[in-house]
């Protein structure tokens, strides 16, 4: 009888732990989401998605908001592309001087 009560108490405790774990939301990786049947959202770079705003104890600043890291990364890529374009512009600029000397002299 006493053993039966102990087993029941353990079962209830275990069930509570499982429920508590579920309430915390996991979020540590694809595996934990997969077991809950919830597809993991990822950024375009394949990184795990940033936790939803407001779900934690601290409200994120704008630069820490969801997608901010990806946005900054995208901005950096755009800036690299800008540098290349400016370099190409400089290359063209080197030949913009109207100089008659290359024309040569007609016979």
């Amino acid at each position: 009888m006493r053993t039966g009560l102990r087993r029941a108490a353990l079962a209830v405790a275990g069930a509570l732990l499982v429920v508590a774990a579920g309430a915390c939301g996991g979020g540590s990786g694809a595996g934990s989401h997969a077991t809950h049947g919830t597809p993991l959202t990822t950024t375009s770079r394949g990184a795990a998605a940033v936790p939803t705003a407001g779900s934690g104890a601290h409200a994120p600043s704008a630069a820490q908001a969801p997608g901010a890291a990806a946005a900054l990364s995208g901005a950096n890529e755009q800036l690299s592309s800008v540098d290349q374009l400016l370099s190409q512009a400089d290359g063209a600029a080197g030949q913009t001087n109207p100089d008659a000397s290359q024309e040569g002299t007609a016979p």
């Binding site: 600043s61 704008a62 630069a63 908001a65 901010a68 946005a71 900054l72 995208g74 901005a75 950096n76 755009q78 800036l79 592309s81 800008v82 540098d83 374009l85 400016l86 190409q88 512009a89 400089d90 063209a92 600029a93 080197g94 030949q95 913009t96 001087n97 109207p98 100089d99 008659a100 290359q102 024309e103 040569g104 002299t105 007609a106 016979p107």
Partner: protein
């Protein structure tokens, strides 16, 4: 007196040698009149090739050099994006110039020129009629530079929009973003707001070859000055944008 005697004797001896030579030579080997030369400077009777070979050769070399240059310019302009919408007209102009040069070269190589001056005038057209190096090269490169700057301007607008959503209450990032916006505005006031080219550069695609090139040169120099200012503005905007990114990472 003795000098005159010596001179007369010399003339007599020379005449004698000439007569002896004529008498000694067989009838069939009599000296013949000089054959008309076909070398570079002497025309054939009708001025057809190979007459004036030197001028024809020079004309071909100059035409071929320009054709190669025009191909290079077209290739560069085709490779650049066209944010201002001015490339197609200039590309068409370059293509026409090249095909006309090819036709002119063919005419120079195959036509009969009764006078050297006639040929010289056609060869001179390769220089003054096309102005490939004095006009077409700087003209195309100015448009190409404006193209690259215009595309870069579009990308920086996108970056500014992204950063605007990220700066939040970061004061330093806000200040750097404001500086970036000012630099972009400076670009727009210098070259125009894509796709509307409103600076001196706008006149460049329409320039045509001229005997007196002073007007074309002035137009292109003004465009170059605008491009230099615009380039500096975009460089500053890019630098400011990088500062904002760094501010936000701290």
């Amino acid at each position: 007196m003795s000098r005159r005697l010596l001179s007369s004797a010399g003339a007599f001896v020379a005449a004698g040698v000439a007569v002896a030579t004529l008498l000694a030579a067989p009838a069939g080997a009599r000296p013949v009149p000089p054959v008309r030369s076909t070398n570079a400077t002497t025309p054939s009777s009708n001025g057809c090739p190979p007459a004036f070979a030197d001028l024809r050769s020079r004309g071909h070399a100059e035409a071929a050099r320009r054709e190669t240059t025009l191909t290079t310019l077209s290739s560069a302009l085709t490779g650049a994006q066209d944010p201002w919408g001015v490339n197609s007209g200039l590309l068409s102009t370059l293509a026409n110039a090249k095909s006309n040069l090819v036709a002119l070269d063919q005419r120079i190589q195959s036509s009969c020129y009764p006078t050297r001056e006639g040929l010289r005038a056609d060869v001179a057209t390769i220089f003054a009629g096309y102005r490939v190096y004095w006009l077409r090269v700087p003209q195309s490169r100015i448009v190409e530079e404006a193209d690259h700057l215009g595309v870069a301007r579009g990308k920086l607008a996108s970056v500014a929009q992204t950063l605007t959503g990220l700066v939040g209450g970061n004061a330093q990032a806000q200040a750097d973003l404001t500086a970036m916006d000012h630099a972009l505005a400076s670009f727009d006031s210098t070259l125009g707001t894509v796709p509307n080219l409103t600076s001196h550069v706008a006149a460049v695609p329409g320039l045509v070859p001229a005997q007196d090139m002073s007007g074309n040169v002035a137009a292109m120099q003004a465009a170059r000055a605008d491009l230099k200012t615009a380039r500096q503005a975009l460089g500053q905007a890019a630098t400011d944008a990088k500062k904002v990114v760094a501010d936000l990472k701290h």
